[in-house]
C-alpha cells in the first residue's frame, strides 16, 4: 500500500512541478539555515570533557582586602589561598593554574623571538583534564617541588621549534631560562578552553576566542614563578601599593585558578566544608578581612556562569529556528492548496471505495516525500552554510565541520517537519465529500 501511495505521490508531484519546487525550496532553505546554526551551536555548547565534567569543581573565596567590597568572588584566587588549598590535598586530584605570556628564544639561528601563551600549573593538570601526550609525559611531583627547569609543549609549538620531531630531552629557552622538554602534547583542542575561563562574562558575549587553540607552553608552577612571575596575568589587584609583579606570590592580586576533582557527592560536600573551614580559619587569623564569599561551581556551572557560548551563535540559532517555523507555515499553506486543488481526484477515489484513512495516508506520504526531497537539498545548503562559517574570521571556524549526526538530524527534521505540516492539509483532504465532487464533474 505504502509503495502505491509513493507512486501516486511521485506522479502528483510531477504534475504540479511549480508548487512542488516552491515547497522543496522552502524546506531546503529552512533546513539548511537551521542545521548550519545547530552544527555550530552543538559544537560550541557541547560538554568539553564528557567523562568528567560532573566531577571537576572550581573553589572560590574572596581574598581581597581594603575598603572596596565585592558582591561575587573574583574569577581567580590569590596565590596564598590557592597554594594553601592545593597543598592540603583534600581531593584525589587538584591543580593550580595561571596564565602568562612568555617569550621563546628559538635555538635555531635566524628565527626571531616570539611570545607564547603559557600556563603555569601543577602535575595533576594533565591526568585531571585527560590531556593526551604524543611524546614523553608530565613532570613529576618531585621535580615540580624543586622547580626543575622542565617544560611540556603543545604539538603546534613542537612543530614550530623542532619540525614535529620527538623533542623530549631537548632544550627550549623561555624568558632567558633553559628548560628541558619532558613532554609534547598530542593534538588537543578542548572546546572551549574550559580550564582557564576568566572574565568571559564581562566580554559582552564576545567569547569566540575561547574556542581557539589551548596554551603552547606548560610550566611547573614553581618554575613559572621563578622565570615568569612578572608575566603572570592577574584577573585584578586590590592593594595599596603592594602590587609588585616581581613578588606575585605575596602580591594582593588574584591570578591563580584552582581545580579539584571530586569523585562523588560525599567528597564534594566534604570539600565544600573544607573550603568554608579554611575561609573561617584565615579570617580568624586576620589574613582574610572581607565578609565570607565562598563558592564552588562544577565545570558545567562555571561555563554557564561565564556564558562561554558566544551570544552571536545563540542569536543565530534563535533566528534559524524562527526561520524554520516560517518555512513550515509556508509548507502547510502550499500543501493545503495542493490537496484541495485535487478535490476532484480525491472525490473519485472516495467514490470508488477509498476510505478516509486511505486518503489521509496517501496525502501524508506525499508530504513526507516532499520533506525528504527538501531535506536532501537542505543537506547541500547545510554543507554550503558550514563552508561559509569556516570562512568567517572567528576562532572556532576551523572546528566547524559536517558530520554524520547532522546529516541524520537534517533528514529526520525535514521528514518530521513536513509530516507535521502535512497533517492538517491531509485531514482536510480526507474530509472531501465524494458526492459533491462528482456532481461538479
Amino acid at each position: 500500500m505504502l509503495g502505491y501511495y509513493f507512486f501516486l505521490a511521485l506522479r502528483s508531484l510531477r504534475r504540479t512541478r511549480m508548487l512542488t519546487a516552491l515547497m522543496v525550496l522552502a524546506i531546503a532553505v529552512g533546513i539548511g539555515a537551521s542545521m548550519t546554526t545547530l552544527s555550530v551551536m552543538f559544537l560550541l555548547s557541547g560538554d568539553p570533557l564528557p567523562a568528567k565534567s560532573g566531577k571537576l569543581f572550581f573553589p572560590q573565596l574572596d581574598p581581597s582586602t581594603g575598603a572596596t567590597l565585592r558582591h561575587t568572588p573574583m574569577d581567580l584566587l590569590d596565590y596564598t589561598s590557592a597554594h594553601d588549598l592545593w597543598q592540603a590535598h583534600r581531593a584525589p586530584r587538584q591543580a593550580m593554574l595561571a596564565n602568562a605570556a612568555t617569550r621563546v628564544q628559538p635555538t635555531v639561528s635566524g628565527q626571531a623571538p616570539f611570545i607564547v601563551q603559557t600556563l603555569a600549573t601543577t602535575s595533576d593538570f594533565f591526568p585531571m583534564f585527560n590531556v593526551p601526550f604524543r611524546y614523553g609525559s608530565a613532570w613529576s611531583a618531585q621535580d615540580e617541588q624543586r622547580a626543575a627547569r622542565e617544560v611540556v609543549i603543545s604539538s603546534t609549538l613542537n612543530q614550530r621549534l623542532f619540525g614535529g620531531a620527538n623533542s623530549v630531552g631537548r632544550d627550549v629557552v623561555i624568558n632567558g631560562a633553559q628548560l628541558r622538554v619532558v613532554g609534547v602534547l598530542d593534538d588537543w583542542r578542548p572546546r572551549p578552553r574550559f580550564y582557564m575561563v576568566v572574565g568571559a562574562r564581562f566580554s559582552g558575549g564576545d567569547t569566540a576566542d575561547l574556542y581557539g587553540p589551548p596554551h603552547d607552553v606548560y610550566l611547573p608552577m614553581p618554575t613559572g614563578v621563578d622565570i615568569a612571575q612578572a608575566d603572570m596575568q592577574p584577573f585584578t589587584c586590590w592593594s595599596d601599593g603592594m602590587v609588585d609583579p616581581h613578588h606575585m606570590t605575596t602580591a594582593a592580586c588574584a591570578w591563580v585558578a584552582l581545580w579539584v576533582e571530586l569523585p562523588d557527592v560525599a567528597a564534594r560536600d566534604a570539600y565544600r566544608r573544607f573550603l568554608d573551614d579554611y575561609d573561617d580559619q584565615q579570617r580568624s587569623i586576620g589574613r582574610l578581612t572581607h565578609p565570607k564569599l565562598t563558592r564552588m561551581m562544577s565545570l558545567h556551572e562555571w561555563l554557564d556562569f561565564q556564558q562561554v557560548v558566544p551570544a552571536d551563535v545563540k542569536l543565530q540559532t534563535w533566528l534559524a529556528f524562527a526561520f524554520l517555523l516560517i518555512c513550515l507555515f509556508n509548507t502547510v499553506g502550499l500543501l493545503l492548496a495542493k490537496f484541495i486543488g485535487r478535490s476532484n481526484e480525491i472525490g473519485v477515489r472516495r467514490a470508488l471505495g477509498a476510505s478516509r484513512k486511505a486518503i489521509f495516508g496517501q496525502c501524508l506520504v506525499e508530504a513526507g516525500l516532499i520533506g525528504l526531497i527538501g531535506g536532501l537539498f537542505g543537506l547541500f545548503m547545510t554543507v554550503a552554510g558550514i563552508y561559509a562559517i569556516r570562512q568567517q574570521p572567528v576562532a572556532y571556524a576551523d572546528l566547524v565541520a559536517v558530520d554524520m549526526p547532522v546529516f541524520v538530524l537534517a533528514l529526520g527534521l525535514s521528514l518530521g517537519a513536513s509530516l507535521l505540516a502535512g497533517v492538517f492539509p491531509a485531514f482536510r483532504a480526507s474530509r472531501v465529500a465524494p458526492a459533491l465532487q462528482l456532481k461538479v464533474q
Partner: protein, 402 residues
C-alpha cells in the same frame, strides 16, 4: 474601497489558508524587525565614533616588555619614534583603541558604598596623549605637568582623571561631573576634565566609551604601547619605517603584530567579525523574505486557478482587467496587513526574550513601520504575477464548465 467587503467574504471561505499566510507574515515580521535591528546595531557599532583622529594615528604595541627594560625603553623609544620623518608627536600609553584592553577595573563613585558595581576602562597616557590622539575637551581642563605620576600596579599614583562625556552623563546624570570622585582600589581620583569622546579599546554593543584617562609617566608599567600622530596619508609609510627601526635598533623587543599598525587597519581587523555577522544576518533576512514570497506566490496562484470561473463571470458582467488585478492586490494587502498587526506583537515578544537572554536593548518602535513596509511591498511584488494571470482570464471562461 467598495471591494473590501466581498474580499473579506471570499476569504471567509478560505479561513485556514488565509490564517496560514497571515501567520507566516506575522512570524516573518517578528524575525525581520529583530534581525534588521541587530544588523543596524552592528553596522552602527562598526562605525563607532572613536573621538580620536583614526586616519592620522599609528599604534606600535610591544609584547613581553619587562620592568627592568621598561625604565629606559619607554622614554628612549618615544624619542626615537618621535624623530622619524612625518611623525608629528608620540604618546606612550597602556592601550590603544582596537587593541587589547589593559586597564579594565571596577570602581566606585559613592565613597560611602563599599561595594563596587561598575567597571570601565582606564587609559594611562603620558604628556603627549591628548595632543597625539586629537582629543577634544568639552569642559574642565587638561592635566597639568605636575599631575603625571609613575605607574604602581596598573594605575598611576595620581589624583586626577579625564572622563568620556557620554559616560560622565551616564554616571552622574544631570550633574556636573567636574570634581566628582572615582575610587579604584585604594586610590581616589577626581574628575578634572570631560573629553567629547574616548572610545574604549574593545567597543561592543553594550559599552563603547566607558573610559577614563589617567596621567601616567612612561617607564615602569607603561612602555608597551606607543601612539604616533603622523602627517596626513603617511600612516602606512610611517608604520613600515617604525617597525624597521625597531627591528634594527631594539632587537630585544617583540612587536605585537595584532595590536600594531595604522589605526584604520586595526579598526578594520577589529570589526571583521562584526561585519561578517552582519552579512550573515542580511543573508538570513534575504532567505526569509524569499521563502515568504514563495508562500504568497504559491497560494495566490492556487486561488487564481480555483477562481478562474468566478473571474470569468466577473469579467463577463463588466469588470475590467484592472478591477481583477486590484482585487487580488487588495486581498494580499489585507492578509499581509493582518499578519503585520500580529507580527508587531510577536516582534516585541521576541525582542523581550532576546533582551532577557542577551542583554540587548528593547527593539525601538521605529523598526515596526519599516518591517511593515518591507512586507507589504514584498506581498505586492509576490502577488503581482498571479494577479496578472488572473486579470488575463478571458470572460468567455464563464460560459465553460471546468
Amino acid at each position: 474601497m467598495m471591494q473590501i467587503a466581498p474580499i473579506l467574504a471570499a476569504l471567509k471561505k478560505h479561513r485556514m489558508a488565509t490564517f496560514l499566510i497571515a501567520m507566516e507574515i506575522a512570524l516573518a515580521c517578528a524575525v525581520l524587525c529583530n534581525a534588521l535591528y541587530l544588523v543596524v546595531e552592528r553596522v552602527r557599532l562598526s562605525h563607532v565614533e572613536t573621538g580620536v583622529d583614526d586616519d592620522r594615528l599609528v599604534a606600535i604595541s610591544l609584547a613581553g616588555v619587562d620592568d627592568a627594560q621598561a625604565m629606559d625603553l619607554g622614554p628612549r623609544l618615544r624619542q626615537k619614534l618621535g624623530s622619524l620623518a612625518d611623525v608629528e608627536s608620540v604618546a606612550v600609553a597602556n592601550a590603544t583603541p582596537f587593541g587589547p584592553q589593559a586597564g579594565e577595573a571596577g570602581f566606585r563613585i559613592d565613597p560611602n558604598d563599599p561595594v563596587y558595581r561598575i567597571q570601565a576602562h582606564f587609559y594611562l597616557g603620558d604628556q603627549g596623549f591628548a595632543k597625539t590622539l586629537g582629543l577634544r575637551l568639552v569642559s574642565g581642563r587638561w592635566f597639568t605637568p605636575d599631575e603625571y605620576a609613575p605607574v604602581e600596579g596598573f594605575l598611576p599614583k595620581a589624583s586626577s582623571l579625564l572622563v568620556d562625556a557620554d559616560y560622565a552623563a551616564k554616571l552622574w546624570p544631570g550633574q556636573n561631573p567636574l570634581g566628582k570622585p572615582v575610587l579604584v582600589t585604594n586610590l581616589t581620583f577626581r574628575v578634572v576634565g570631560v573629553v567629547a569622546r574616548m572610545v574604549r579599546p574593545n567597543p561592543n554593543p553594550f559599552a563603547a566609551s566607558n573610559s577614563f584617562i589617567t596621567p601616567a609617566l612612561a617607564g615602569k608599567g607603561m612602555a608597551s604601547v606607543y601612539l604616533l600622530r603622523v602627517a596626513p596619508g603617511k600612516a602606512a609609510d610611517v608604520f613600515a619605517r617604525a617597525t624597521a627601526m625597531i627591528t634594527r635598533d631594539e632587537p630585544s623587543v617583540i612587536l605585537d603584530a595584532t595590536a600594531s599598525g595604522p589605526l584604520t587597519q586595526l579598526r578594520d581587523a577589529y570589526f571583521a567579525n562584526t561585519r561578517s555577522m552582519a552579512i550573515m544576518m542580511v543573508g538570513v533576512i534575504a532567505a526569509l523574505l524569499l521563502v515568504s514570497a514563495l508562500g504568497i506566490v504559491g497560494l495566490a496562484s492556487f486561488w487564481v486557478q480555483q477562481r478562474r470561473q468566478q473571474i470569468g463571470i466577473r469579467r463577463a458582467i463588466g469588470a475590467t482587467r484592472r478591477d481583477i488585478l486590484h482585487y487580488f492586490q487588495l486581498e494580499n494587502f489585507l492578509i499581509v496587513g493582518g499578519g503585520i498587526v500580529v507580527g508587531m506583537v510577536l516582534a516585541y515578544v521576541l525582542s523581550a526574550v532576546l533582551m532577557k537572554q542577551y542583554e540587548l536593548p528593547l527593539l525601538p518602535a521605529y523598526y515596526l513601520p519599516y518591517g511593515a513596509l518591507i512586507l507589504w511591498l514584498l506581498g505586492q511584488l509576490a502577488v503581482l504575477g498571479p494577479a496578472r494571470r488572473a486579470a488575463a482570464v478571458p470572460p468567455v471562461v464563464a460560459t465553460r464548465n471546468i
